[in-house]
């Protein structure tokens, strides 16, 4: 390819594509292992690592974008990590070169694809009006800010998709005093991780904040007049007026770069448990990766999972460069948390989903406005989930790691809670609050 000759060529030892938590953790781990290795992070969205989950606070104005940068700007210079803002278009695994949109060629020894995730697109509902937006990156934030610049002109917005980002959107728009209809396909809120009791409590909280929550509700088509969104047609053929639609029906791995480069992909970029793609010097981590372990395939779309994979990717890239043995990814405990308007949710468990052999014990406080759920296998605790309450991570980990039973939990329950001082500590006589099983 003769035109390559006019391209700028730069070289580094470790090239990291994507500056989310996975890419950043990998870079910092590499730097910790080796103060000399030449590290380059290239990312298209932002030069600096920012906290994606904090986008909602930037929208609401309670944080400036710089506040969401976990590291000061000059931190990267001090760590001697080279940042570039550009989009990688193609990777040539054999030649160990990456080609970017701005005609840079970057040669590398090892490469990490930490390209993150992109929103799932609603299945074709005809031409998509401009007033339909997603919420996963800075461009989405900018678009949403523009669309809601004059909130009083929006009579109603619909939020489509009952997940964690959906609730955030409902809260963000309500905060701007925009009436929101929140369309959820499932028959209760977030069955992916919540039990029905918990889902109902979250629904109550959502409704209390003036959101028009509709369960069992799917969108069938956009309704537009002169290219402007005027409403949505629901699956039951009823019509809902709306001037703005925010879609949050989940995310999927960003695999475009990997596919263009002929690196095998399934749902995500396929990697072995050591996070290597079919090319042993090219790794993938974070939301972008799909780990193949024997017959099972694992994908995670969380902040801490991305960070954890990133750390291992950093270690393994170093080991690969030095010819040392690589390590396999172990998720360890599973945790997740969210804030549904004012309702805290914290979940610690051995497994992401409830399994057939597990049963649940519920505790209910303050007329059912706060819930604690213990997940139990035989007598051993395999998970705990709190809604409206906070749990102490160190205690929960200890219970899980030491395979403690329910009795131990009840005896030490005053240490299980993490609510701020002056909140009642229900742990002292937790048994009293147990809900009868039926």
């Amino acid at each position: 390819m003769p035109h390559l000759l006019v391209m700028d060529e730069i070289s580094c030892d470790a090239l990291i594509v994507g500056n989310g938590p996975a890419g950043i953790k990998a870079a910092l781990t590499l730097r910790e292992k080796d103060p000399k290795i030449r590290i380059c992070i290239i990312s298209r969205e932002s030069l600096y690592f920012y906290s994606r989950p904090a986008l909602m606070y930037v929208y609401m104005g309670s944080l400036r974008l710089e506040d969401t940068y976990p590291y000061e700007k000059n931190f990267w210079r001090k760590k001697n990590i080279w940042l570039l803002q550009d989009s990688v278009k193609l990777i040539d695994p054999q030649a160990k070169k990456a080609f970017t949109e701005r005609n840079q060629v970057i040669s590398f020894q090892v490469c990490l694809l930490a390209t993150g995730a992109r929103p799932k697109i609603l299945p074709a509902l005809g031409e998509i009006p401009r007033e339909v937006c997603y919420f996963t990156n800075l461009a989405d934030l900018k678009k949403l800010e523009e669309l809601t610049h004059k909130p009083e002109q929006i009579k109603r917005a619909v939020v489509i998709g009952g997940g964690l980002i959906g609730v955030e959107l409902a809260e963000m728009l309500s905060y701007r005093k925009i009436a929101v209809s929140f369309l959820v396909r499932e028959n209760y809120f977030y069955p992916k991780a919540l039990s029905e009791k918990e889902g109902r409590l979250v629904e109550k909280e959502i409704c209390q904040h003036g959101v028009d929550l509709r369960l069992n509700c799917e969108v069938h088509a956009w309704h537009q007049e002169q290219g402007k969104l005027k409403g949505v047609v629901l699956a039951n053929h009823s019509f809902l007026e709306a001037e703005l639609a925010c879609v949050a029906i989940g995310v999927e791995s960003e695999t475009e770069l990997a596919r263009n480069s002929h690196i095998s992909c399934g749902e995500g970029i396929l990697v072995n448990p050591a996070l290597q793609t079919e090319y042993p010097h090219i790794f993938a981590a974070g939301d972008a990766a799909e780990i193949v372990k024997g017959d099972t395939r694992e994908q995670y779309f969380l902040w801490y999972t991305a960070e954890k994979m990133g750390r291992l990717a950093g270690e393994n890239m170093y080991a690969y460069l030095k010819g040392l043995p690589l390590q396999d990814f172990e998720l360890g405990f599973w945790y997740n948390s969210a804030k549904f308007f004012r309702l805290d949710w914290q979940h610690f468990a051995l497994f992401p989903h409830l399994r057939q052999t597990e049963r649940e014990i519920f505790f209910s406080f303050e007329q059912g406005n706060k819930l604690l759920r213990l997940i139990v296998e035989k007598e051993t605790i395999s998970g705990m989930s709190a809604l409206g309450l906070r749990l102490r991570e160190r205690f929960c980990h200890q219970v899980l790691a030491e395979k403690r039973d329910v009795e131990y939990f009840l005896k030490n329950a005053q240490h299980a809670f993490f609510d701020p001082e002056f909140f009642p500590n229900y742990g002292k006589d937790l048994e009293k609050y147990a809900l009868q099983e039926h």
Binding site: S51, P53, D67, Y304, D344, Q346, R390, E407
Partner: protein, 376 residues
């Protein structure tokens, strides 16, 4: 989480914020130095603008008369500028405190501690000193003590203050401070009692995110705060030595000059003019962070003997930055949360706002030690 828009308006150091800062600084300058300005600056201005006439002292006296209606029943005499200042200060703490409580009404820690500082300010720092004057006793602020209120443990206190008050101050400084700080950390005073903290956390709440978070500021803070502590201790020692020597010579002249210098630059200049004037520009706790000698002592106790710390649920942290942004002491709370380390910092005043604004329940202020029981 209680949200505030910090991206526009006065919360973003706009022109209004600058005006407010200048206004506050001017007010403090007039309050502390009205006579000095009349003597030194006004004549100079009169040379420049012949016919210019102004007396700061009279101006402050006139202003103060506006609260005579309160001063007579409370103190049995007319208002002076200090009474006026105390009145405005207390009013701000109470009114803005109510506003603060409304904003953080779901956070019990915030509600309780704000009620506490409002009560202390109203009763111990306003009503009691006034009523003492009415009873012809020396006015005394039970909520302040050495080295913040440095004159309560200087030789002058021995003959100016009733002995019981003097002992109260000594008890607070040397017994209450270490004992309470051992159990509760610095916060028992800085976030539950102190009037300076009270103003910062009520009237100043909208400016707390303006505190600087640079590494330079952390280095500077260590130098300035401990220097002022050393100066305060050395000055106290020198004044006592001078008192017991009781010989008027160059040493005693130096001792009194030092005292005047301390009251002028640190007491009035730093704590007053800069400490409050900088609210809209550099956040609310400039004095508490860079200057207060009591904070230095409490801070040392906090990182050495105290049981207080902020524990983290590190795995749940999403690195959003709410905690660090709203920490008025400029502490990088997020860095600790991301590493999963307890926060034990001398600067932390235990205001608990990081705990209140964290959207994932990652942070918890605590003093208790855990003891786990085994199941059979």
């Amino acid at each position: 989480m209680p949200y505030k828009n910090i991206k526009t308006g006065i919360r973003r150091r706009n022109i209004l914020a600058w005006f407010l800062a200048i206004f506050l600084m001017l007010f403090y300058a007039l309050l502390y130095w009205d006579k000095e300005i009349d003597e030194k600056i006004i004549p100079f201005l009169q040379v420049l603008f012949p016919g210019f006439r102004f007396s700061c002292e009279q101006f402050m006296a006139k202003l103060s008369q506006k609260v005579d209606f309160l001063s007579y029943p409370l103190r049995g005499k007319g208002a002076d500028k200090w009474f006026f200042y105390g009145f405005v200060y207390t009013l701000l703490v109470v009114v803005m405190g109510l506003r603060f409580i409304r904003h953080y009404r779901h956070e019990k820690y915030q509600v309780y501690r704000t009620v506490s500082v409002m009560g202390v300010q109203l009763v111990l720092a306003f009503l009691v000193p006034s009523l003492l004057q009415k009873a012809n006793v020396k006015e005394f602020y039970f909520s302040y003590f050495w080295p913040l209120k440095i004159e309560y443990f200087l030789p002058s206190a021995l003959y100016e203050l009733p002995r019981a008050f003097f002992y109260w101050g000594v008890f607070m400084s040397f017994i209450a401070v270490p004992v309470l700080t051992y159990f509760f950390g610095k916060r028992w005073y800085c976030s539950w009692v102190c009037g300076c903290g009270a103003l910062a956390n009520t009237a100043g709440d909208d400016f707390r995110h303006l505190s600087t978070k640079t590494e330079f500021s952390w280095k500077l803070e260590k130098i300035t705060i401990y220097s002022i502590l050393v100066i305060a201790i050395v000055m106290t020692a020198i004044l006592f030595i001078n008192h017991f020597r009781a010989i008027p010579d160059t040493f005693s002249e130096f001792a009194f000059a030092l005292q005047r210098w301390y009251f002028f630059f640190i007491g009035a200049g730093f704590a007053g003019v800069v400490g409050t004037g900088f609210y809209p520009l550099a956040g609310t706790r400039v004095w508490c962070r860079f200057g207060c000698p009591l904070a230095a002592i409490l801070g040392i106790l906090q990182v050495t003997i105290s049981r207080f710390r902020i524990t983290t649920n590190h795995g749940l942290c999403i690195a959003c930055g709410n905690c660090s942004t709203y920490c008025e002491m400029g502490i990088d709370v997020r860095a600790y949360a991301m590493r999963g380390e307890d926060i034990r910092r001398a600067a932390c005043v235990g205001c608990g706002i990081c705990q209140a604004v964290c959207p994932r329940g990652v942070l918890r202020l605590e003093n208790r030690v855990l003891g786990l029981r085994q199941s059979k």
